[in-house]
Symmetry: C2
Subunit: 342 residues, 2 copies
DNA sequence: ATGAAAGCGCTAACAT
DNA sequence: ATGTTAGCGCTTTCAT
């Protein structure tokens, strides 16, 4: 193991000088620095980040805690976060996907242990006294799509309400009067907001959504399938169905096929998320695009500002990213999008 | 910051005793230990892993380096690895997804810096002297689906050849004589092996695949779309098409639809990977299941053995996981699977 | 411009 | 059973 000690000996200087030369953290005679750099290269010296961390109390690492559910959506958010972290020369310590795992424990372990400089936490379901746990956090923390009771923290979120409102309004624009919705899991903030956006759109257009047209789902394609089945097995059937995410919409496609219902002629369909696969459906799914990669980048950038003290880490800060409509053929629009394959 | 020093003072013992009590690394009188544990809980003491790492030269962290391409497939592999790492109380330092990033640099940074105890590297395309770089690695390293010139290392891989052979054989079993293939990117080991498996199956059945029926793709749905289009625009058309991964098969579904070709009546289709979405296609895609979660778990378990010195870290070790067929309706089989929705 | 030395928080001999 | 002490490799005052 080649360490500073060795380089220092080789260069005939003290380790302090080596440190200064390498970090440009103090004056070093040009000749000395050149010699040190030369030696460092020659012996493939790499500073030990552990030792540095112990000394500086910084790790150049950010923690990322994701919920158990892991679909394509999460791949994108990791991507956004990873790219931004890389750009900033930070490492990413990931923890995720465990049903059985207690988010709180993970978080606190990350936080109090000095393993990371800050944490990005995606926890759309603020159960088990999550907020109390977060309060005990001693390091910068950024929430992603947080539960409603997290106002005191820093968070970035998708404007689900607005997105859902917009897409339901679009469905009304097609002249559908009876709109059904397949909801996400109760208590999930994204799911709840999307439901509210839908309901509000109904109220604003004097066509309130009938309670029997609100069918519970859990964000899985399977649940979308069955929810759609149940919606269509009622005496009075909806003319259009809004699924709270694309996965459930895909389940609904399946169900529509097995019922021999044509989309959109017999039943219009819309989703939420704009996952890659919604493009592959025929007709292309009308959905709401969530700028998920951007969400991740913004979270990282803000977190780094908190870490660097450029913003007050204890001050709440909230940002909502607008979700835009993606019009496919499933809502009844002439499907322009489908003309351009993939 | 509450550290050992403080707990020791509070308990009226030395920090050595605290360390022993907490780590059960030496004898401590029961009463003393109880007092220390009590105090630690009270003051919410968490040992500083950085300091511990510096002292023990272990980090309890595994590095994970993934290629840029990030589809659902990778989500699964991260899941497998993450779960296993969690089970073993290890952390995961992830680095991934950057086109521009030099894998070698990342690897060496991980390795030589003491940030991780070992690395799992997924690099199906051994370009740019990858092997030479790997040789310089000073820590345990496990490869996933490695390039062909990596025999000297430890790796776990999917048996792509066998999987491709089996599925093409299955297509022959349906009586198709003209089989087309959409390949993956050249130089990618998975892609190459799948191609070879397909070709070999053709030879063994005295129905060699015609060169004009081998259409290049790049694993993206888009490339699958166009490759399929080109395959079907030839004078002589294949009766069945094997896409080297499910994503391209999905593109082929799209293309088939826009050509008004029914699957499987007009054209049979098969893929590889068994990604979640292949279940959602109608008819369900016939594909090859790759035990990807298992691949990740095995890699972690073996890596930990290397780290713990339970196996020789410098000895090559290879394991190939068998890929099994998943029969859907797209190949012409009566689609049993489709009866059970999703 | 450079060096000496004191930590950072913890582990692990070694001593008692 | 417990304490003392020497590191782990680096950063950072404070001298010189």
């Amino acid at each position: 193991m080649v360490n500073m000690q060795k380089i220092a000996a080789l260069a005939g200087v003290s380790i302090a000088t080596v440190s200064r030369a390498l970090n440009k953290s103090g004056p070093v005679k040009e000749a000395t620095r050149a010699r040190i750099l030369q030696l460092a290269g020659e012996y493939q010296y790499t500073p030990n980040p552990i030792a540095r961390s112990l000394s500086t109390q910084k790790t150049d690492t950010i923690g990322l805690i994701l919920p158990e559910m892991a679909d394509e959506f999460f791949m994108d958010i990791i991507r956004g976060i990873d790219e931004e972290a890389y750009r900033a020369n930070r490492f990413l310590l990931v923890s995720s996907f465990h049903t059985q795992r207690d988010i709180a424990a993970t978080l606190l372990e990350f936080m109090s242990s000095g393993r990371v400089d800050g944490v990005i936490l995606m926890a759309p379901e603020g159960k088990n006294g999550l907020v109390e746990t977060l309060r005990r956090s001693r390091r910068p923390l950024v929430l992603l799509n947080p539960p409603g009771n997290a106002q005191e923290f820093v968070y970035f979120k998708i404007n689900n309400f607005q997105g859902a409102y917009a897409i339901v309004e679009h469905l009304f624009g097609h002249g559908y009067h009876r709109i059904g919705m397949i909801t996400g899991p109760n208590g999930n903030i994204d799911a709840d907001e999307r439901l509210n956006g839908c309901l509000e759109a109904g109220r604003q257009h004097d066509l309130p959504i009938a309670p029997s047209f609100i069918m519970p789902g859990d964000f899985s394609a399977r649940s979308g399938y069955y929810a759609f089945m149940r919606l269509m097995s009622q005496m009075e059937k909806p003319e259009a169905v809004f699924a709270a995410n694309d996965m459930m919409a895909m389940g609904a496609y399946q169900a529509a096929r097995s019922l021999n219902l044509r989309i959109p002629q017999d039943i219009a369909l819309a989703g939420f998320d704009d996952i890659f696969l919604s493009q592959l459906l025929t007709p292309r799914l009308t959905t709401v695009h969530v700028p998920i990669v951007e969400l991740g980048s913004k979270a990282v950038r803000y977190l780094l500002q908190m870490i660097n003290g450029e913003v007050d880490p204890s001050a709440p800060y909230h940002e909502e990213l607008t979700a835009g409509l993606v019009i496919g053929g499933s809502c009844g629009c002439e499907s322009v999008a489908a003309a351009v394959p993939l």
